[in-house]
């Protein structure tokens, strides 16, 4: 099967145009990252310079984990609306009568959620690091920048976003309304965070090798997830609400 870039681009562009004018998506993309970056900054700033090493590690781990909620929850909320939202608006049928294939449609929907989610996540992460560098006590800033979970943070951001997106789209393809899809998608997006939290709290010693070792299966799951979402996207059921 060959994917057509023009058709994928058409849907991605349309989605991004639509997000900009959709108040609930703008709020999700703006408010949630602000909250999840403000809390870690406040947490780090409230640490005394002479904090014990264990306390420091736990607080940094918690802060980083907070920020991983951004690539987890933001794309889940967007992806959950991807198919169910089109059904609710009555726009799915006209799109499906064009030459677009379901894999192209889902890839475009996924990319449209992935691109802003990852940019916002990295942006929030950068804001956190800049704030720590500029305003935190030097000892604490050094501890943050030398924390071994930091590269894992960068590595897991796109992988968690991809997980949230495929699970969100698969749920969206099976849901009758957007609200239900969003609630289920946010729940479905959380399991990988469990592993990441073990790293963040040093339950599993966070080395880059281990992070990569965990990231690879997650990458495979993400790739399989796209196929699973494609299988769950049943044109006939989506159009008629029933199967033959």
């Amino acid at each position: 099967m060959r994917l057509n870039a023009t058709r994928v681009r058409a849907i991605v562009r349309k989605e991004l145009q639509d997000y900009r004018r959709n108040r609930s998506i703008v709020m999700t993309m703006a408010v949630m990252p602000v909250a999840f970056v403000a809390l870690p900054i406040a947490s780090i700033f409230s640490l005394p310079a002479a904090a014990a090493s264990a306390t420091l590690d736990r607080r940094i781990g918690l802060s980083l984990l907070y920020m991983l909620l951004i690539p987890t929850i933001v794309p889940a909320a967007i992806a959950a609306a991807s198919v169910a939202g089109e059904r609710e608006q009555g726009t799915l049928e006209p799109v499906l009568t064009t030459p677009i294939q379901r894999e192209e449609f889902l890839l475009a929907k996924g990319l449209a959620a992935f691109i802003p989610a990852v940019l916002i996540s990295y942006g929030a992460f950068a804001v956190f690091l800049v704030a720590v560098e500029l305003f935190a006590h030097r000892t604490i800033a050094t501890a943050v920048f030398h924390n071994s979970a930091l590269p894992a943070q960068a590595l897991f951001t796109p992988l968690l976003a991809a997980w949230s997106i495929w699970s969100g789209i698969a749920i969206s393809a099976r849901s009758s309304d957007v609200r239900t899809a969003q609630q289920l998608s946010i729940f479905a997006s959380l399991p990988p965070l469990g592993v990441v939290s073990l790293l963040s709290f040093n339950v599993i010693q966070p080395t880059l090798t281990l992070a990569v070792g965990l990231a690879l299966p997650l990458l495979v799951i993400d790739l399989v997830g796209w196929r699973v979402a494609a299988v769950m996207f049943d044109r006939e059921r989506l159009v008629t609400g029933t199967r033959s």
């Binding site: 681009r9 349309k14 009555g90 009568t97 044109r235 033959s244």
Partner: protein, 318 residues
Amino acid sequence: MGEDRSETSALSVSHLTKRFGDRVAFDDLSFEVGRGEVFGFLGPNGAGKTTTVRTLGTLLIPSAGSAVVAGIPLEPANGVAIRRRISVMPESPGLYLRLTVYENLACFAGLFELHDARGSIERALRAVNVADRANDPCGTLSKGLRQRVGLARALLSDPEVLFLDEPTSGLDPAAAHDVHDLIAGLRQRGVTIFLTTHRLEEAERLCDRVAIMNTTLRTIGRPDELRDQLFSRSLAVRTVAPLAQPERVFSALPAVTGWRADGPGAYILAVSDPAIAAPAVTRALVGAGADVLSIAESRHSLEDVYLELLDERAEGHE
């Protein structure tokens, strides 16, 4: 749009059936639609019209039978190829309401991989007279304008076959009239149109041929042919005063096969050919000293045909 049509059928449907579990949406449909023809697909709500469009538009897989759509066999493997050649306008236009008219069409121009997207969009908008609203969000448009934009979107790709599913559903008479004019314009340009509707005057006005279905196909033909098949032709005669001896006036006239009174001074004459019967009836009435108010051919509407067929079906089920 609309040039380069080959001589073959635009649609060829053979024993096509669609079931959802035990429920039959439509059964054993067979018909052909010629290139450039406006083909009306009539039936009551729940008759299977929309399901037929969705099946021919490759959204649904038929349970049995076969079809050739725009020259391509209707098979799952040919879905993309068929959808490149057709356009479907569903009953609800399904526009992205937060996007402008232009942005909506630009998205679909991308989906059809149109090389001159801007030119195609501008031509389609001009064709439906909404070029001046190109930059308005679709959410701000009236229902009639949204229907026009839906039609513009359907025309973007210069389709070989255009499926219009209840295009005037829910529109006020003026907006429906505008859509009729647009469809008539497309017909003049040679676009093959498959029009589903339950508005019979719409089908009668716009369609070359119509099919009447209610899960199964009841009949198919030109509206006047269907009338002739189902109803004998007749003349309605009105005189100022009742005739003293109508049997003497109407008997033995050429092409008049029978008559009956239809009220004081009103008569219905069964005729084999109105063109021969009407002058003879006029002469006979004048000869009998009657003051004639009117002599007109009684025309059965497509609605009469439709109701007659549905009545037959209901009786058949009793």
